[in-house]
Amino acid sequence: MKLKSYVSGALLGAIMSTTAFHGAFAADDTIKVGILHSLSGTMAISETTLKDAMLMLIEEQNKKGGVLGKKLEAVVVDPASDWPLFAEKARELIEKDKVSAVFGCWTSVSRKSVLPVFEELDNILFYPVQYEGEESQRNVFYTGAAPNQQAIPAVDYLAENEGVERWVLAGTDYVYPRTTNKILEAYLISKGVKPEDIMINYTPFGHSDWQTIVSDIKKFGSSGKKTAVVSTINGDANVPFYKELGNQGIKAEDIPVVAFSVGEEELAGIDTKPLVGHLAAWNYFQSVDNDANAEFIKTWQAYTKNDKRVTNDPMEAHYIGFNMWIKAIEKAGTTDPDKVIDAMVGVSVPNLSGGYSSMLPNHHITKPVLIGEIQDDGQFDIVYETPGLVVGDEWSDYLPDSKDLISDWRMPMNCGNFNVAVGKCGGKGS
């Protein structure tokens, strides 16, 4: 019976990519962990890796004896890069599979789509990707970078070390690049950059013809001032963008590009020789040199049986989030999401870049910011590291709408958008 349902499940999964396949051996005395990452559709390219990373982390934890004397059990569903389906699958995970926490989502729109579900059913979501901020929700823990943990230090680095005075903010046309660029624009202007020295450009998802834009960048960069491109270009559009840069002969020494969505995984599909010297800002690089990271890479490559598999920043975010969750469960002595949420704040675990990350009252975490230069082997050479940990700032100080807002989910404030100017909970946003 069990075998039959497994086989039919697998068959269905192969035919209709949206079908969920559950662990074959369900048992009651396990703690269930939901994994909500797209395994098909456009986002599969990034999210499949995170599913594998989570399965590995759960397997490793079970080798150590699980948590609270129980084994962990992963429940994998496939929301198929379909935003409304994310909400449906999240509901299925919580109501039907009774998971204790969910690790998942990549795009902001998928996160926004599941927020009401997590609020209504009072469960936990760990969100591992850098995002635009302007949000703090009691049921969500944001283990990726807020804009001040990625974008702003990167811009500072370029201004100080490369003497950049002219900025191209190029992004894909959706909420993360738009908000990030709004914050960056406000930040740059507050630093004395003239508005005519900022060029903002948006392109559709999967844009593949970059000729006009690259030549515009070239033109914009020929005004005698040092120019850099700050790229929030997402996903597949990056490969043709970098190829066009390389072909039109724009070298990193002339106009460097700093990217927030290009990591080891994305570079795996490009010949990186023409890109050497272009930059990326993350909180983790595979090339970070310490024992914890070496161990992590070894485990990952053994788990995937591929000694060329790379690690990346969102994987580290899941690593931190998962370990924080385990620690909070041990602290609370239960897996009841409501109690675990309260136990999470203040939990501190080692990250992979050689320090500790702690969960803040605003449900964001502290992390170092690293700037890396692309190398010809598809890895990054770290050229700059913030001296200390950077505290995640959910409501940007540079946007007029959000500069008075703070978030603190501890009692007695217990509010995601406390307006310090009027002293009341409930400002703009959610």
Partner: protein, 543 residues
Amino acid sequence: MFYRLIFAAFRIFFVCLSLALSLLATKAFAADDLKAMVNALGTASFAQAEELVNNLGKSGDPNVVPALEALSEGDLFVRKSDGQVFLTKRAGSKLELIDPLTGASAGEEAKSALSKVKVNNSLRRAIRAAIGGLTLMSPDRTVRLQAAQSILKAPSADSLEAVETALAAEQDAEIKGVLESARAVALLSSDRSLDDKKAAIEVIKERGGRDSISILMTAANSADEALRPDIDAAITSIENSLVFADAAQNVWYGLSLGSVLLLAAIGLAITFGVMGIINMAHGEMVMLGAYSTFVVQNIIRTSYPELFDWSLAIALPVAILVTGAVGLVIERGVIRFLYGRPLETLLATWGISLILQQAVRTIFGPTNQEVGNPSWMSGAFELGGLTITWNRMWIIVFSLSVFFALLFLLKRSAFGLQMRAVTQNRRMASSMGIRTPWVDAFTFALGSSIAGMAGVALSQIDNVSPNLGQSYIIDSFMVVVFGGVGNLWGTLVGAFTLGIVNKFLEPYAGAVLGKILVLVLIILFIQKRPRGLFALKGRAVEA
């Protein structure tokens, strides 16, 4: 550890000291000093390294060039045990050490015993300038040309004398031209007389091009008030001459986008245009073509690396066969049961496209696959103020040759004749002894293999991922419908029109709005001419 730090600090101090002394005494450096300076690179911070590179450049000794090149390429390593710096070459799992100055081999070392000397962009700029200065008098023409160009990119008053000496000795006209410009640029930041500078501005103006504006703008930021009007006048004059080049550039971009659209649409012009099958799996045929390229390249990389430049030529027939076969199977297995039922065909082919995507995802994984550009498809060349990238140019050539080859096949071959006969009047063709089911099958296979050929070309400019096809399917339908269903010439004109309109809109409206505008224009156009640009006339229309 601590001991080593002190040692390193002491060495840097020593180097700086010796440098200062030797600068005072003579301009020549002893080999030992150079060696010490190169070794100091191993432990220097980025700022110190930049200083060292500048000093190495000033040494005037061409022996340091390999070390500087290696530093910029990331091939310079420092041995952890004694702080010696070496050039390295990969030798199996170990690295072969080469003395940075003499080029003599210095044994092998495991990777773990070495650490890479790090480099960042500003250091790379310094290196480029230093190498430029050192190789200006090199006997090798290409090296000299490169040196002149790098001086032109990083002008400084210091290099003026070196450039003038080189200019006096230079025979080659092209290098001489670059050096003239470099001299003019360097002169602008020097303390020469105003008249010299005015002449220099004139030289740069003559040179023209986008780079010259950049040079003049830089100069304007620091120049004398008296020079401002001259610089401004020069900039305006260059900009005026660039207006025409800009328009030409837009046309070129439009042609290039059009050729990509044409490639993607041409197979659909057969399956949808000629056969009337709403083929939603068309994009996946393009994707399969791209994956065939990937597989072929992978085999070439591992077994026959010397054939890499031929990889696309080898991948082309492979892609044609693979996608043709898949197309044949789809037609025989699914579509032939659905003729005359367009809605079911649409759903069935859409299902096939999902199955193909997921199958590729399962076999190759969801991530992008690396497809390399052969050397003849990388880079760009200048043509009268236009920057033309090789890969775009070859794609235009390729798409036009595919188009005309197809046209020839349809108009001049027996198969083409049968195909046209079947589409125009199936029953008549059948009674003339044509096996219409097989003509259908091979026509569909032909459309699919043309999509496969498109995949080979598109693998050069786009991602090779399971989603590759999806981004082209809508554009392809748009081109075919706009150009006129059933007419190949319509597809050609439609593709290039859409490409050029899109590229002329993009600078003004932005990429997102530009695309929307194009769609709106097409909708309006279709209202006016429902059958597209070149409507088929005659009996086939009613069939």
